[in-house]
């Protein structure tokens, strides 16, 4: 197992710390998207710190690195938190989120931060870009894998399914998607706005290997990422059931916090709940 030397407890502690960073940077910024950042952070923690992805903070453009694209770009606080923890950017930069004259754009921008793999935020685009990178790896005989996190609301975009069809057609076995299925989109519950069900059989029908997990259970996440790494004949997707706002009691399942930053007192309560 790739994860044998990584303590689950340590990863859970890291995820808790990154949750604190997420709520703090959003509170300082005064705007942004806590719900979808907190639902995604356990998976990002496992990807970056669970001996899954190979990367080099000193050389973010290292040609053989594994790539991670946050296609649901509004969860960028989660991405910035792992980039800081991994040493790609200084931790102080987190407190500049969304501020003018800084690289900490409100959605991921590849021109502003070399550690970001793709500019995203117009939903539906990341999987196509990831497929392009995966095809380039094949042409060049490179060993890297491309991971793309997509949202559940995002899965309503037609381009996601164009990319799904193409990845399977081109046998992009070095491409792994992760669906952060937190069951809410901006306007309300996915099932009420535009259901994406039956989502597992949809991906299977498109020719993908699918595994369904609890996206907050670190062991399940690591096992699934390991499974994805060993899936090389076809593209793979991890359907991760998550809770929007996970880890902060008053944000969990409360879609008000889709796109609203915590106030100072909410921040204090959140930090207290997330304390080590």
């Amino acid at each position: 197992m790739v994860t044998s030397d990584v303590s689950l407890k340590q990863l859970e502690r890291t995820a808790r710390k990154l949750r604190r960073h997420i709520v703090k940077m959003l509170a300082i910024a005064g705007s942004g998207h806590p719900g979808g950042s907190l639902s995604a952070i356990d998976i990002l923690t496992a990807l970056f710190f669970g001996n899954v992805m190979r990367y080099n903070p000193q050389n973010p453009r290292w040609e053989d690195r594994d790539r991670f694209i946050l296609s649901k770009g509004h969860a960028v606080p989660a991405l910035y938190a792992v980039l800081a923890e991994a040493g790609f950017i200084p931790e102080e930069w987190l407190w500049q989120l969304r501020k003018i004259d800084t690289p900490m754009q409100g959605h991921p921008s590849v021109k502003d931060l070399p550690a970001v793999e793709a500019s995203t935020g117009s939903l539906g685009q990341g999987l196509s870009i990831g497929l392009g990178m995966a095809l380039a790896a094949r042409i060049d005989g490179k060993p890297y894998r491309v991971y793309v996190m997509i949202g559940d609301g995002e899965s309503e975009e037609g381009q996601v399914w164009e990319a799904a069809m193409a990845a399977s057609h081109f046998h992009a076995g070095n491409l792994t998607a992760i669906l952060d299925y937190n069951h809410y989109q901006l306007d309300g519950a996915i099932g009420e706005i535009m259901s994406i069900e039956p989502v597992v059989s949809k991906w299977e029908a498109f020719g993908w290997a699918v595994r369904e997990i609890d996206g907050h259970d670190m062991k399940q996440i690591l096992d699934a990422l390991h499974w994805a790494r060993e899936t090389r004949e076809q593209p793979s997707i991890i359907v991760a059931h998550t809770v929007k706002g996970k880890g902060v009691s008053f944000m969990e399942g409360n879609n008000e916090f889709h796109g609203k930053a915590p106030t100072q007192s909410e921040l204090e309560q959140a930090l207290a709940e997330l304390a080590d």
């Binding site: 793709a118 500019s119 164009e162």
Partner: protein, 319 residues
Amino acid sequence: MARPLGEATREAYGKALAELGRENPNIVVLDGDLSKSTMTKYFAQEFPGRFFNVGIAEANMVGVAAGLAAAGKVAFASSFACFVMCKGFDQLRLAVAYSDNNVKIVGTHGGISIGEDGVSQMGHEDIGLALSLPGFVVMVPADGAQTRAAVRAAAEHIGPVYIRVGRPKAPIVYENGCPDFQIGKAIMLRDGRDVTLIANGLMVAAALDAAEMLEQDGVSARVLDMHTVRPLDEEAVEKAARETGAIVVAEEHLLHTGLASQVAMAVARLHPVPMRYVGLTQYAESGAPDALMRKYGLTGENIAREALEIVRSRASSVV
């Protein structure tokens, strides 16, 4: 008057791409189920491992091209001009322009000269859409020889490029090739004193025809092939305004978002002179290409008439 027809600019594109493929293993090509029409088929036949037919899915095609470029490839992506620019626009904006990825979009079947297939297949707005994306180089070559030069220049340029080519055989403008082609450098095909005709694409040949007609009316017309719409050769535009005092712009595109608008902005800022425009102001229709070009005013005669009016009105105002 009629110039001999050469190869279609799309044909020249396809051939040039295959040539480049032999020279540069880093070039990859994508198409959206139109490779037999865009002529990327030549590249596909020779380099199947570097060719990706993504099917009829332009948004995904542009995104995949961006990913290939981000991983170090020179990615050419083609479809009809209207499909790749309209259906891939959000992806061109975020994944190509804003991300400054090294993607070359070549839209074929630009303009109304595609003929019988009608408006849904015609690029009326493609150049305007490309111009609206910061950082995009935008080129509209006049004939086969210039297309080969433009495609080569695009491959060498690092950054996003849009090239518009056409469906029909194009009148030969450059009989001996286009060796001095440079992105952003207009080519003076004919010097003149009284008016300058600025054109690109098929309208370059029409402008040359117009200059010959004007000569018979005693008007000396300069002809500039403005193959690059951006970066615009402002020096050549300013010089034309100063030295000839009147400008007619001709293009096979909607005037309000194409070459005409770009030249007008430059003239207004650098050296205002009277201007006229020959181009589209509305959607066209089905019909034979030549008949469409005549009906929508995209002819040498029309360019000559506009030039004559502008020169005569200047003469009468001076008197």
